[in-house]
Symmetry: C2
Subunit: 222 residues, 2 copies
DNA sequence: CTATTTTTTACGGATTCCCGTAAGGAAAAA
DNA sequence: TTTTTCCTTACGGGAATCCGTAAAAAATAG
């Protein structure tokens, strides 16, 4: 079994249960941080001391509070960790269940397992830890039913996200066009942007822009 | 201390910690349900058996799964419970931290305490349970800083929420007007609704409807 | 009951969105 | 090079919004 595991989870009510699982699996060294920043520091320190972690279990969303944070989400933490310790195994344990987001975690951030917090997530988490240790790939907790081959979701790219972001900030087509020009993002004609928004609307079955943004918010795209 | 407590919480990773707190407080009877519907049934049954609960600790959001549910949220559960056992003490334990929502819980649903899930929420929860037992009123976990006297939020009423909801579902002004007429909500003229939306836009400093809905989503109003 | 104020509704012009069509341009294929 | 195809941009008409003004209705005051 893993020798040294780091848990990044802000909610104390949850981290208790996660640590319990690790104890039952007889992991000798279990550390727990409530802030992403602390997580990165611990991982760097462990590397320097030549006692690196071999597993990271992290949440995605962390509450912001009085403390100023550099890394504010699990995504950012993983991204930063990948810079310093590429081979570290990573399990995400989060409430998020949007396939778009989860796909991104596997494909762009290279996580090893995703466990969705739910009614039987503790046993799922245990399975994921054991599977990860056996070098299984792309482990998904069983309550998530989508397929990785689902084409539709791959089509939404960062370009679309940019449009949705600006829309949600009150920009009109012309503003977005100008913004894209100044950031040299192409295509940037109002027509092209308009067309892309239309694609998004049909894809998400949205009646209009207002509806579209509401849906995008629900999906956690913005 | 309380004699019989019901915990309604779908996430197993959290309910473990909540039950632990109750055990430490030496509550003799602790029951736990993962679905709102089960919670209501248990409360009704306990009343019939003349062994009623004296405290309910509930989450707000419950994941939906294969099982068909009647009550889908903590709000609905509390509302239903108020019908059958008005005097039951109620503590909400949730991640939600939007003042508007929390105010509503105290004022319209008559909860006794609100504890926000966070980095030190277990100790907060314990305090809230003890405070509720001592008949303290409107207990708020200390990481929530808003005041109940905060005027701004009182101005937004359920009428506004209805508009925002329909907008976020892709309704246009005329649709909303018709919907309001069929539900006999007044005012229901397109002009009046338009005017109200404008008020919301100035209040939230939104450039347009799209922006407004994005903000409303962020505030948890819809 | 009348006067005053407030609320609701109606209307109109400017702007933006919405949606289809088509022209222009670049890359790939012939 | 020419043709084809795909992508980007342009244009236009109708729908919905945005925003100001004003009439109608309702509530309040005297």
């Amino acid at each position: 079994m893993f020798k040294k595991v780091l848990v990044a989870e802000d909610l104390d009510s949850i981290s208790i249960a996660v640590v319990q699982v690790l104890e039952e699996l007889e992991v000798p060294t279990i550390h727990h941080v409530k802030y992403c920043d602390d997580g990165l520091i611990k991982i760097k320190k462990a590397l320097v001391d030549n006692e690196p972690y071999d597993l990271l279990i992290t949440d995605l969303s962390f509450k912001s509070d009085h403390r100023a944070s550099n890394l504010t989400s699990g995504d950012e933490l993983i991204d930063a960790v990948n810079e310093v310790q590429k081979d570290l195994k990573k399990i995400v344990f989060s409430i998020e269940d949007k396939s778009y987001r989860i796909k991104m975690l596997f494909n762009e951030l290279g996580i090893n397992a995703y466990v969705s917090k739910g009614r039987n997530s503790i046993i799922e988490l245990r399975n994921a830890i054991q599977g990860t240790f056996r070098n299984e790939e792309k482990i998904l907790s069983s309550d998530l039913s989508f397929s990785f081959n689902d084409k539709a979701l791959i089509e939404i790219e960062s370009y679309d996200i940019s449009i949705l972001k600006l829309l949600s900030q009150g920009y009109i087509l012309e503003n977005i066009s100008n913004e894209f020009k100044s950031m040299s993002i192409t295509p940037n004609g109002t027509s092209s942007i308009e067309k892309r928004i239309n694609k998004l609307k049909t894809y998400f079955k949205a009646n209009n822009n207002v509806h579209l943004i509401a849906i995008a918010k629900d999906f956690g795209l913005v």
